[in-house]
Each structure stands twice: as structure tokens, then as C-alpha cells.
Amino acid sequence: MLHINLADQYRRGTSLIHRLDPRTKILAVLLFIVTATILPAGAWLPYGLLLAGALLAAQASGLGVGFALKRSFVALPFALAAITLPFTVPGQPLAHLSSLTITVEGSLRFLSILIKSWLSVQVAILLAVTTQFHELLWGMRELRLPKPLVSIVSFMYRYLFVFADEALRLLRARAARSGQGEGKSGGGLLWRGRVAGGMVGNLTLRAFERSERIYEAMVARGFQGEIKTLISPPLTDMDRNVLVGWVTYLAMLLLVGFLF
């Protein structure tokens, strides 16, 4: 089974969310996740309002309410990391499971973590599907991320698909020269590991050689170690209004969460 699923996540569109400045979207998403993180456990009303905000944004993106919802369960397997909370947090007993006691407080904390994670993933998905990757990088550069790092990541993204293809070819070649039994793998574990390792070593060499060629091509075109960018436009009025509205809404949520 080859499991490379490397389609670009971006969905073309002209909606309000698509047209927002990448800086606005990055900030809005980060603030949303921070809000979800600091809300206390069991603050159901603010959670509901956060969900409403996420769904509203999804609707405004023209992709539909269900779009992010459907994909937002990717982080759920990680719930295993918190699964012990209902048993370990001391509090009022809710149920007994042989010798273990499930407490109300523990279950509350567990559920809250899951909901916070689920909400955060939804806005992260929206950011990825409504913003092209080069726009995201541009936004991060404007938000003062170190320029060389942003350049490295933009380079990486450019060659990501090339190397994914090379990896796929290696995997396909291995599959072609290997027999396959029902649920069985040939050779010993060490041997199989060495084969996979050899493929990775092979890919390392290809990466080095390709980087040499790329670098030489860049030098030939006048590259001097720095990628130059145009001067950035200021945020538009629409972006300002959206940001102010969003921050007000999140601040109110926090007030509700902590006061009631």
C-alpha cells in the first residue's frame, strides 16, 4: 500500500475568506486556537459559540459548513493520550469499571480537551484550504518570521512533490521486485529494514545532487544568497474590520467562559 496523499489542500475560490489578507487569516486562526486553549474545562456555552464561529467562517468561505467538519476528525486518534483522565482525576464518582472509578471531573476534562482539539483543527483546515501556500509564506514573512526560514520552507514546498514522486517510484520499484503473500512479508525484519534504509540513502544522494544542480542554476540567474520580495501592502479596511470583529467576539467568549 503506497500511502502518499500529497494533493495540494488549497481550494480555489473568491469568497470573503479567500480574499482576506493572509496575515489576517493567520492571526485570526492563532487567536481562535489560543482562545480555545485557555477556556476552562466544561465551558460548554463558549465552546458552542466557538463552533458557531468556525462554522460561520466555513460558510463564508463558500466551501460549506460540512467541509471542515468532515475532515476535522484527523486529530481524534490522539485522544488516546488523554484517555486516562476520567480514571485519574479525583472527584465525584460517575461510574465504576471493575476496580477503576470514572469521575465526573475527569470525564469533563477529557471531553473538553477533545472538543478544544476538534475546534482548533477546523480553523486550521479552513486556513489551509482557503490560502495558497505561497500566500501563507508571504503572510508569515510579513508577520516577522525569520526570512531565511521562510525561504527554506518555500523551497521545500517547491520540491516536495518532486521528492514525493521519487519516493513513490522507489516504493513502486520495491513492490514490483517483491513477491507478496497474504499478510506475509518476505525476508527477515533486519533485511526489510535495510532495504527501506537503502531506499532512503538513495533518496539522500538524489537530494544532494539535485540541490547542487538547483543551486548552480540559481547562481547562473544571479542568486546571491537571499530571496528578494516586494514591499507589502498595508491591511485593507475589510481586513481591519474582520480582525477587530473577530477579536471582540473571542474576547467576549473568554469573558463568558471565565465569569459564568
Binding site: F78, A81, L127, L149, S151, M156, A167, Y215
Partner: protein, 318 residues
């Protein structure tokens, strides 16, 4: 998806508290900033294309798997391999790019949790792998056998350390008690780390046979002293953090014994004095707060090691 089994180390948002995630970002930012300057000195204007292409390579290499048993498969995380081939600072940048793109584009790991994920899977694996690798190389000398042994041990330990760090962060966030999270995370990664070690060894063996000269880049990478200081600090810090719950076995039990004997708090007070006596004021659960204090201490030890490395380097430059 690209790497189901490594996904256990990609902490999503919601599982870390704001304080822990913030500390992760703080630490990641410092390390990335330093790494950018180091690799600039090491590679000059080749920095951007070479780091970018190698990051794309590690991302793709994570998809190369091999069947282990019962439908599970062995994968590469890549931090140690990158550190052995390119030196630890370059590896920090490569892994940061990989983990960043996974979070931004594929929602593998959270955005707020990204700093911590970079620390666990990028910085820790790079430095732990590199330190172990150079130690083993020093003991066993040059040659193929020592290269492979060093790579195997380095890769295996680096994954364990990454998992241990993730468990500690989850515990500090109150998401899982340390006495459950640590054995569970480290236990599963004892096996996952074997996959990492096998692939790393295979790749190093291939590179040794095909292009031995490439392997000297990492060994001659600059700031070896700086890297060593950071690695020693990390090792020390993690050692303390990992041993503290083990040493007490059952922290709650120890608390009770201490209370019975009437020196509750006093015994450990000197260690935690800086954190307002016994625990952190923000954390309610006493065992969690104790762990939190240890974790913060860990970070402080690391910060001191980091500063020492910088001073050392400044003196070397002067």
C-alpha cells in the same frame, strides 16, 4: 496520510496548555534563530537551496516504510539521519520545515503546539542523535561498523527522547499523568525507534558505500563545541526529568510517606524554592504541580546550557 505511526508524536492543539505550548515556542524560536546563523556560516549562500531540498527529501523519506508485524510498519522520523549527514544545527532547520509544513498544510500536529512539536521531533532528535553518534564514534573509532552502530543507537535514543519529552509536556499540561504517559509513550517508541534505527542504519550503509565524502559534512559542521554544550544540557535536563518520577516510583505514595514522616515539603523544598515553595501556583493537582516544577527546572537547566554554549562560542570568536 504519510506517517500513521509517527503521528503519535505530532501533538494536536488542545492537548497542551498555553504555558507549555508557549514555552515550546520560546525554546524553538531560540534554537531556530541560532541554527539559522550557524548554517549561514556553514553553507553560505547555499543555505536556502540545500536546506530546502533536504527538508523536502526528509518529508518524502518519511513515506518510505517497511512492514514490521501485524499490519504495523516501520518509518523514519529523520532527525538523527539529518543530524549525522548535515550536522545538528542544519538538522534543526530541516526538521522545523518538515514539521511546520505538516502542521500548516496537512494538520499533522497543531499550530499552537507546533513549537513543542519542533522541540520534540526536530531539536531533541537532532541533538540527542548527534551527541550519541559522536560519542559512539569517539569510542569505536572510524570505519563502517562504528558508523552503523553509532547511527543505530543515536536514532533509537533520539526517538525515545522525543517521546519522553512529548509525555512530559502532556503531563505538565494536565492531559495525562506522568506515571502513565511516560511509560506508555516511551514503551511504544521503544519499538517505533527500532524502525527508525533500522532505516537510519540502512541509509548510512548505502551512503558509506556510495558517497563516503558526504558523511564528512556533518562531522565537520561548525559549532561542534556549541552543539556539544546544548546536547549535554539536553541530556542532563531530560535525565533529571525522566528520573524524577522513576526515582520516587509512585509520586503520590512518596508524598504520603513524606507527610507521615512529617517532612512534607521540607525534603524537596530547596529544589522547588524558586517555584514558590512546593509547586506552581497555577497548577492545582499536587503531583502535577510537582512534575511541572521539575519540568520547568529542566527547561531552566537547558536554558543555562544554551547560554553557556553561546558564551563559549563568543569567547572562541573573540
Amino acid at each position: 496520510m504519510i506517517h500513521p505511526s509517527v503521528a503519535y508524536l505530532h501533538i494536536p492543539d488542545g492537548f497542551l496548555s498555553l504555558a507549555v505550548a508557549g514555552l515550546g515556542w520560546l525554546f524553538a524560536t531560540a534554537a531556530i534563530g541560532y541554527a539559522l546563523r550557524q548554517t549561514r556560516g556553514q553553507l553560505g549562500e547555499k543555505q536556502i537551496p540545500l536546506m530546502g531540498v533536504l527538508a523536502a527529501f526528509i518529508f518524502a523519506a518519511q513515506a518510505i516504510n517497511f512492514p514490521v508485524a501485524g499490519g504495523t510498519s516501520g518509518h523514519l522520523l529523520g532527525g538523527t539521519l539529518a543530524a549525522i549527514v548535515m550536522g545538528p544545527w542544519a538538522a534543526v532547520l530541516i526538521m522545523t520545515s518538515v514539521i511546520g509544513v505538516q502542521a500548516l498544510v496537512f494538520q499533522d500536529g497543531g499550530l499552537l503546539a507546533l513549537g513543542s512539536n519542533i522541540v520534540n521531533m526536530g531539536i531533541l532528535t537532532a541533538f540527542a542523535g548527534h551527541l550519541v553518534y559522536s560519542l559512539v564514534r569517539k569510542v569505536m573509532g572510524a570505519g563502517r561498523r562504528s558508523l552503523l552502530a553509532a547511527g543505530a543507537v543515536g536514532a533509537w535514543l533520539s526517538v525515545l527522547l522525543g517521546a519522553a519529552a512529548a509525555a512530559i509536556e502532556l503531563a505538565l499540561s494536565g492531559t495525562s499523568p506522568l506515571k502513565i504517559a511516560l511509560p506508555a509513550m516511551v514503551g511504544t517508541h521503544v519499538l517505533i525507534g527500532l524502525g527508525e534505527a533500522l532505516i537510519t542504519v540502512g541509509a548510512l550503509g548505502f551512503l558509506y558505500a556510495a558517497r563516503r565524502d558526504l558523511l564528512s559534512i556533518g562531522e565537520t559542521a561548525p559549532a561542534q563545541t556549541g552543539a556539544r554544550w546544548v546536547a549535554v544540557g539536553l541530556g542532563l535536563a531530560l535525565g533529571i526529568a525522566a528520573l524524577s518520577p522513576l526515582a520516587s516510583g509512585d509520586p503520590d505514595g512518596l508524598n504520603r510517606v513524606a507527610a507521615d514522616l512529617g517532612f512534607d515539603g521540607r525534603a524537596l523544598a530547596p529544589l522547588y524554592e524558586i517555584f514558590s515553595g512546593y509547586g506552581l501556583p497555577l497548577v492545582q493537582d499536587p503531583s502535577v504541580s510537582k512534575v511541572a516544577a521539575v519540568g520547568l527546572g529542566t527547561l531552566i537547566v537547558f536554558g543555562i546550557a544554551f547560554l553557556a554554549a553561546r558564551l563559549q562560542r563568543r569567547r572562541a570568536n573573540a
